[in-house]
Symmetry: C2
Subunit: 257 residues, 2 copies
């Protein structure tokens, strides 16, 4: 092993992972930043290629043996390949996990279902919240931003490695849940107070689009409509909460009980 | 009144409001985007100058009379002056409110205190959460990002007009609260479970820096240490929640009781 410049082909591959097409074609996604690369190596994901400066490699204390291929590169060529504004000393090319829809039974653990979340930062934050509250599965509508978009991976602060994200037809999925008599929760302006309604430890919490909330076809599949009430007493009241904030409050309420 | 190009001096003034120095010198802050401009006009803040296209002015239905000065401008010159990536049809120059520290009594309503929040998006989101939960005052340490930074104003989605932000020496302020026997709450890894601890409807909730949490001098003034417990059961556990997410969960827990 010797320190090398990253090849033109490797740089081209890395940069192709910024787009869904590139990820689908190679079956890989990009992890940047030393802390995130460490998380990838500690996770159950398959790290195909670890790219690291020799000095960061020393800090990894053998964790690098988890990678199939190791490329020692100088900082300059990592910077050249990086999609970050402030590139660090390592990156990892990681195999995309299988997209397997979970079985639904009346005992299915609490899950989140995302209906057209568009902002990568919001999705990353939602994954981080799910991870914190021990929610292992996040179902995403097909028009939700891709969880393996580098911006989502970054914003998830490692939660991407600990939470299973599944892209599927959300209406069909929720219809199965309804048929299995699993409660499907969602927040609506005319819902019932989340702080006083009975909440199940099983079921699905649906979160809607940043601008438009839960879409009409999906809202018809919600069996328990909830609201996070405002405590504002001013003449001009706030209209809404950010979707990640609403997710946090819902998860906190479901889990504390 | 006729449609005009914005003068060079007006454009210079507008763009100076991107920096704290410019805001301090003019005593103004910048509000961009049609919805935000409407919120400014509906609020108790003093709108010094409303800049609008004639067509948006028509939609304001007389609300524009709340502005001291009205400049009808064409979209091109609004675009030229704008700090936004996607400029809209209006902007407002609004007078900075007084920075008056609230009196502390043992009956002081629930407040937030921010210890070195650096990210404008986080501060805007925190103001939005405070507004939702009817928390009227947000005390900011002197090293917290300025609430009248255009990015904070934008991220607050109008909460900046409904929440009083006060910049002060946070340690001195909290020392007064402690002397008045007002509870000072903060979240720490070794705190007591927020879901089971008794929480007062009065007091101050301290939120810490994005990377480092609550600073040592401030943590010595926290009288009630809390923790938001993780429900993660995996081998690799998440380390932390984003500060805005932690704020949301704290506010929700304090207010629901």
């Amino acid at each position: 092993m010797h320190i090398e410049m990253l090849s033109k082909n490797k740089i081209k591959l890395i940069q192709s992972l910024n787009r869904k097409k590139g990820r689908d074609e190679s079956g890989l996604f990009l992890v940047e930043g030393n802390k995130m690369v460490e998380e990838a190596l500690r996770s159950d994901f398959n790290v195909e290629t670890l790219i690291s400066t020799p000095s960061f490699l020393g800090q990894l204390a053998g964790l690098d043996s988890r990678a199939k291929e190791l490329v020692e590169a100088d900082k300059e060529s990592i910077q050249k390949a990086s999609l970050l504004q402030t590139p660090q000393d390592s990156m990892a090319l990681v195999r995309l996990p299988a997209n397997t829809e979970p079985e639904i039974t009346p005992n299915t653990d609490l899950m989140l279902a995302l209906d057209f979340i568009q902002d990568p930062g919001n999705l990353g934050t939602i994954l981080r919240i799910a991870d914190w509250f021990g929610i292992n599965t996040v179902i995403c509508s097909e028009n939700t931003v891709d969880a393996f978009n580098p911006k989502v991976v970054q914003a998830s602060m490692g939660a991407i490695f600990r939470t299973s994200t599944v892209y599927t037809n959300l209406e069909k999925f929720l219809a199965k849940a309804v048929a299995a008599q699993l409660p499907v929760y969602g927040t609506f302006l005319d819902g019932k107070n989340i702080y006083t309604e009975p909440l199940s430890a099983k079921g699905i919490i649906v979160l809607g689009n940043e601008g438009n909330g839960i879409s009409d076809p999906v809202s018809r599949l919600v069996t328990q409509k909830l609201v996070i009430p405002t405590f504002s007493t001013g003449k001009n009241k706030p209209e809404s909460l950010n979707v990640a904030i609403a997710t946090a409050i819902c998860c906190s309420e479901f889990r504390r009980r």
